[in-house]
């Protein structure tokens, strides 16, 4: 049973891990799918009062592997790649180490299935708009057409690189075909650059907001602005260089070394190390405690209004 989730390095195989293309593997895949579908239909008949326990059970079991992996005793400097576990406790600990990867990846695989749900919903909304000829339905058409074209050329390009390019010739643009060019133009030429443009636009809004809304009306606003101002001034090397020159000149003319403490980089460095970092750390502590509490409540099914409600 401990072979379950464990890696079997080819050509070694076990009950859970079969060589590709073998009857055993195909039977396993089909069988597991049928069991999954039976589970699907079985669950759909569960009475209302038991549903919460089903969801809490799945959530708890999924999290348990990680909690055990962290808390399970493990000999110091154990290297189970080279050494065999000496007893059942060590054996279970070694198994937890290799089981983590396939269990954790389950989250991504399920999330990927659910991502399709988001795209399906988006398409449904826009297709309905087109069918009803709602206002600005033309834009919905543009959205659908551009997503379909991107998907077609994206898959086409992937298919060519994945299955028809053993020599990796397509890494060089000289060997590109029509689909590779179109995919590159859509992805790198448009999508990626539009992404960068979207993010960069925030700078314009920040400038406008700073001009209109960043007002010194309270002690809090003044403290925040002073902190931000010192940090921003310190970001300007030309300014800190001139300031340092001025301070060094003062130190030389007066002989007072204490004045070096007024060097902008020194002031900014002190502020960052002794006030900004602990303040941010406090914020992170607060967020971290909240995340820990939320994590435990979700795992144990105590969260009201969560998935288990």
């Amino acid at each position: 049973m401990l072979q379950f989730l464990a890696q079997a390095t080819p050509p070694e195989t076990n009950f859970w891990q079969q060589a590709p293309g073998t009857t055993g593997l195909i039977l396993g895949v089909v069988g597991a799918f049928i069991i999954g579908m039976l589970l699907f239909f079985g669950l759909s008949t569960i009475p209302t009062q038991f549903r919460r326990y089903i969801i809490v059970g799945f959530t708890f079991l999924a999290g348990l592997v990680f909690v055990l992996q962290y808390l399970w005793p493990r000999p110091i400097n154990a290297d189970f790649e080279k050494e065999l576990p000496r007893n059942a406790v060590e054996g279970f600990g070694a198994w937890l180490g290799v089981a983590i990867d396939p269990v954790a990846k389950t989250a991504n695989i399920l999330a990927a299935f659910l991502l399709g749900l988001g795209i399906f919903s988006l398409m449904r909304v826009h297709i309905n708009k087109i069918r009803r000829r709602a206002q600005d339905w033309g834009f919905s058409l543009i959205l659908i057409v551009s997503s379909v074209i991107m998907a077609i050329f994206g898959f086409w390009d992937w298919n060519m690189r994945q299955f028809n390019d053993p020599e990796a010739l397509l890494t060089s643009q000289e060997n590109w075909k029509f689909a590779n060019y179109v995919n590159d133009a859509l992805f790198d030429g448009m999508y990626q650059q539009m992404d960068a443009a979207m993010f960069s636009m925030i700078a314009f809004f920040i400038l406008s907001a700073a001009y209109r809304a960043f007002r010194i009306r309270s002690v809090e606003a003044t403290v925040m602005m002073a902190s931000a101002l010192i940090l921003m001034l310190n970001l300007m090397g030309a300014l800190t260089f001139m300031w340092s020159g001025w301070i060094n000149g003062l130190v030389e003319s007066t002989g007072n070394q204490f004045l070096t403490n007024f060097d902008l980089t020194v002031v900014a460095g002190w502020l960052r190390a002794n006030m900004q970092i602990p303040a941010i750390r406090a914020i992170e502590f607060g967020v971290g405690l909240g995340a820990l509490a939320m994590g435990l409540r979700l795992w144990l099914g105590l969260e009201k209004g969560g998935v288990s409600s």
Binding site: V98, A196, F199, F214, T240
Partner: protein, 317 residues
């Protein structure tokens, strides 16, 4: 209507235009600006320079074009620095499926840049390995800490003259059995993937970070607690590293001046092959203009508000 009230009512589009014009103009003026690198950036440079020869570096490249303005400069600096030290490296992404392609494009450009300069051309499988994308940052980093060979099991790389080989047969990883064998792990990111790396690989490997300005403040507490050994934050971090590469640390120039000082620290050489002052140097002057513009905007906004209030009969807001 007074001048202050007019200023208060200025159209936002005028502000946008001023920013666009100032930033564009700044790009055509390139001068080397002296700076005092942040201790966190300087420590990153020193940590990379301290990596023993022959050790392999792990790069987690988690940035995409959306933060190109900062992260591309970080990644370029890192590649130039590692290549100038002849260090082998592995790169992958654990945060965004687009990230490996963006990293590949940048890497290809830096290899070509060095080739054009007559420098050694890094070879896949021989000097570096591209591991692609790992779908789950948490699981990937956790597994890398528990069992690196399991975490990267089944991965293969192309190698000139040998076709496709297992990554563990390649000179890049043949001496690496566990994460502790790596010279350093450097995370280039625009997201909290640096947090995940620190959380899962705590103290198992020396971690360095190259992050965006948005992520930077949350990484500095890690730096203070020595959970990461150096952090380059945002565009300033890009320029800081370039400045260290161009001038070394505690290194005297021809005039006997030390441009990058680390009191009590040892001397680190400057980089003598390939580009040092590059993208960061090009953008840093323009950043000055943009920041001055923002500070002016805040000052003018507040002065305008104060002066408008002073006007007899003006409505207090």
């Amino acid at each position: 209507m007074t001048i202050w009230e007019k200023l208060q009512a200025v159209d936002r589009r005028i502000l946008y235009l001023i920013l666009a014009v100032c930033v564009s103009a700044g790009l055509f003026i390139t001068i080397e600006i002296p700076t005092d690198p942040d201790p966190s950036s300087r420590d990153l440079y020193q940590a990379i320079m301290d990596i023993p020869e022959g050790k392999t570096v792990i790069i987690q490249s988690d940035w995409t074009n959306s933060t190109r303005g900062e992260s591309m400069g970080h990644f370029e600096n890192l590649l130039r620095l590692l290549m100038s030290r002849n260090l082998k490296f592995v790169f992958y992404s654990a945060a965004d499926p687009i990230a490996p392609q963006v990293a590949r494009t940048t890497l290809a450009r830096i290899i070509k840049e060095r080739k054009d300069e007559g420098l050694y051309e890094y070879q896949i499988g021989e000097d570096y390995i591209d591991l692609g994308y790992f779908a789950n940052a948490e699981a990937t980093n956790l597994n890398m800490g528990i069992d690196l060979r399991n975490a990267w099991s089944g991965k293969r790389t192309k190698k000139a003259g040998a076709g496709e080989i297992s990554i563990w047969e390649s000179p890049v990883l043949k001496d690496v059995r566990k994460i502790e064998d790596a010279g350093m792990m450097i995370v280039v990111t625009a997201s909290a993937s640096i947090d995940v790396a620190v959380q899962r690989l705590n103290k198992k490997v020396s971690i360095g970070a190259m992050v965006t300005g948005v992520v930077g403040p949350t990484v500095l507490p890690f730096y203070q607690a020595k959970q990461v050994n150096g952090v380059a934050v945002g565009l300033k971090g890009v320029y800081d590293l370039e400045y260290c590469m161009a001038n070394g640390v505690n290194l005297k120039d021809e005039d006997g001046n030390i441009k990058v000082l680390n009191k009590g620290g040892k001397e680190y050489p400057k980089i003598t092959e390939g580009k040092t002052l590059a993208r960061g140097s090009k953008y840093y002057g323009t950043l000055h203009i943009a920041l001055i513009l923002l500070i002016l905007a805040v000052v003018l906004g507040n002065v305008g508000m104060a002066m408008s209030r002073k006007k007899p009969g003006a409505k207090r807001s």
